[in-house]
Symmetry: C2
Subunit: 173 residues, 2 copies
């Protein structure tokens, strides 16, 4: 798929078919997640990946009602910030770096015909703590975001991105 088409027509997909995602496509999605820039090239993230329906349900419940689509997903990825790898002078760049990884995975999935929805986790600390407890994560590993993936139940679903002129400021505020 054309890159601009992938970016401009991406939509949040919340309903999925049962069709599984192949190992090859999973690898491509994760490789995309690892191909973004990161602060001082810290690559300060990890990925907790599952296709197990029981684990997907537990992940969904830990994130609350907006994460319901995960229960129908065939793949879930919990993106984690790795504070041990973060830039010591400004460790909060882990939030930026994790976001880049998420968006790259979502776009790679779109290019492969796979839908996804980003389920916000950080900075909602109740969600962060429940994911930490669910997977018994070390203190330096912080849940960033959860993404549900699967083949879209409605393959015609397209984003309706729009350009907001008043968000653009030329040369000055």
């Amino acid at each position: 798929m054309d890159a601009l088409q992938a970016i401009l027509t991406r939509a949040s997909v919340r309903d999925f078919t049962d069709q599984p995602i192949s190992d090859g496509d999973l690898h491509t999605i994760l490789e995309a997640g690892m191909s973004g820039p990161s602060c001082v090239n810290a690559r300060d993230w990890s990925f907790l990946v599952t296709r197990d329906p029981e684990i997907l349900t537990k992940m969904a419940e830990a994130n609350g009602r907006p994460a319901e689509p995960l229960k129908k997903a065939t793949l879930g990825i919990l993106v984690l910030g790795d504070l041990e790898r973060a830039f010591p002078r400004a460790p909060e760049y882990w939030v930026v770096d994790g976001s880049i990884a998420c968006q790259n995975m979502i776009l790679a999935a779109k290019a492969l015909g796979i839908g996804s929805v980003w389920l916000g986790t950080w900075p909602q600390m109740d969600r962060v703590e429940r994911q930490q407890a669910l997977f018994d994560l070390p203190e330096t590993v912080v849940p960033h975001s959860l993404i549900a993936f699967g083949y879209p139940a409605d393959p015609e679903l397209k984003g309706r991105g729009f350009y907001e002129e008043d968000r653009v400021h030329m040369d000055k505020w």
Copy 2:
């Protein structure tokens, strides 16, 4: 350009030719920036855009030495978080939403043959404050990141993304 190719071969480009970026391509880049997901669809960002060499130089100096490539860039975009639009229950999602906008713009540029480099700003508050002062921004408008764009001096430059097996955890930590 193919979407996966754009994602997997993106590189940080720090040296640019003088060739200007057209209005049409600038519009596409900004539209890409506005086409990512955002928390509760808050679209809590703005874009301060310049092609003026004098302003590009001032922006570069406000961000310090790593922002030198901006002095050779033909386009600079300062991505701003708009706290008035942010999700009231968890406003810090503005950091995630701004990051998504940046990565979308970088990938759209790549698809158009335009190079870019992400110049980290937030959470380095000295940089944030100097950009705020330079553009006399309202308190609710927070500099997120600066991106330098231009046609690459070395058109052969390609990313060398790599897959790190030990960053992937199946089903459990």
